[in-house]
Symmetry: C3
Subunit: 136 residues, 3 copies
C-alpha cells in the first residue's frame, strides 16, 4: 500500500477545488496500471466528491448548499462555542470527507467531464491535507 | 485485484435500478468468500447507494430529490451550456458516484431488505458503465 | 484482510453514536500501523459519517435531517406497508451506510475534532451490526 499526503490551500466559504491533477500525478509517479486510490480530507468542515468542474456548476453547487444547509447564526454549535461555522460542519457531515476512485489501464475510472473536487466549507482559508492510500 | 465492467441501460430521469443481482453474480463467478467490492459509476449525472428496493420508496426517493434539488431552467450550468440537466449534476455530486460493499461467508454484507441501486439522474436514456474492483 | 463485527445498541430516532473508540480498538488489537478500515452498517435505516461530536452539532444535525427529509405519514412507503419509517429509509439512502478511514503511523487519519458516527434513523431501538474489513 502506498501512502501520500497532498497539501491544498483553500479560501474556505465553499471553495471548490479540482484536485484531479494531483491524483493523476500519483498514478504517473507510482506507475499504477490498475488499482484503487482512497482519499480522505482531514477535518470536519470539508468534503470530497466529483462534479463536472465548470464555473456554472461551481456556482450552482455552492448556492444549493446555501439553500439546503444555510449559514445561520443560531445553530446550537455556534451558540455553544461562539463560532460561525455550524453550517460548515453540517455540510461536511452530509457530503462526507472521503472518496475512492479506481484506476484501469493507467487512467482514472471517471467520465470525460467528471473531476474529483475538494470542497472547503469552513469560514476562513485553510491548508488542507488529503491522505491518499493506494492499493494496486 | 479483479476488475469487471457492468453495463446497464437506463431511462434517465431518476431511473432507480437494483444492481444487486449483478454484484451477486460477481461473487459467484469469482468464488469470493470474503472481500470487498468497490463500485464506481462513470459520469457526473448518476450515483450509487443502497435502499429497500420497493415501489413506495422508489417513488419517495425520486420525489425527495425533486424537492431538495429541483429541476430548474435557470441553473447557471443550463444557461451556460444550453443544457437542461443542471439538477442531474447536482444530485450526482450530493449522492456521489461510488459505493463499496463487503462480502462475508460468500454473501454481501447487506440487510435483508437492502439493495444496491444505480440512480440515473440525467434527462435522457443512457448506457452506464459501473466499474467493479474486487479485493479478496 | 481482517474482518470484525461490531455490535451497537441504539435508541433509534436519529440516535447519533460516536463509534471512534471501537475503531481505535481495532487498530490496537490488530497492531495496525498503516492500512484502511472499511465500515458498513447493515440495514437500510442507518448510516455512517464523521462529525465533530459535541452536543450542539448532534442537535443541529438531527434538526437538519428533520428539515430536509422530514417525518411524514404520507410517504408511499408508509402507506404501502403501514409503516412509519419512510423518512428513516430516505435519510439512510442519502447519507449512505458505508465509510472508510485510513490509518497512518498507528492513528486514524481524522482531524482532532472529527469522530466517526453511526446514525440510527429508525423509529425504534435496534441492535446494529457494523462490519469492519481491514486491509493492511
Amino acid at each position: 500500500m502506498i501512502t501520500a499526503f497532498i497539501k491544498i490551500k483553500t479560501k474556505g466559504n465553499d471553495d471548490i477545488i479540482n484536485i484531479t491533477p494531483q491524483i493523476q500525478a500519483l498514478i504517473a509517479q507510482n506507475h499504477i496500471e490498475s488499482g484503487i486510490i482512497f482519499l480522505s480530507v482531514i477535518g470536519s468542515t470539508a468534503a470530497l466528491t466529483t462534479m463536472e468542474y465548470e464555473p456554472g456548476l461551481v456556482k450552482d453547487l455552492s448556492q444549493s448548499f446555501e439553500r439546503l444547509l444555510p449559514f445561520r447564526k443560531d445553530y446550537a454549535h455556534n451558540a455553544a462555542w461562539s463560532d460561525d461555522n455550524g453550517h460548515s460542519h453540517l455540510r461536511s457531515t452530509f457530503l462526507k470527507t472521503n472518496f475512492f476512485v479506481s484506476v484501469s489501464e493507467s487512467n482514472l475510472d471517471l467520465g470525460t467531464w467528471q473531476q474529483i473536487v475538494l470542497v472547503d466549507f469552513d469560514t476562513r482559508s485553510r491548508e488542507r491535507t488529503v491522505v491518499a492510500k493506494i492499493i494496486i
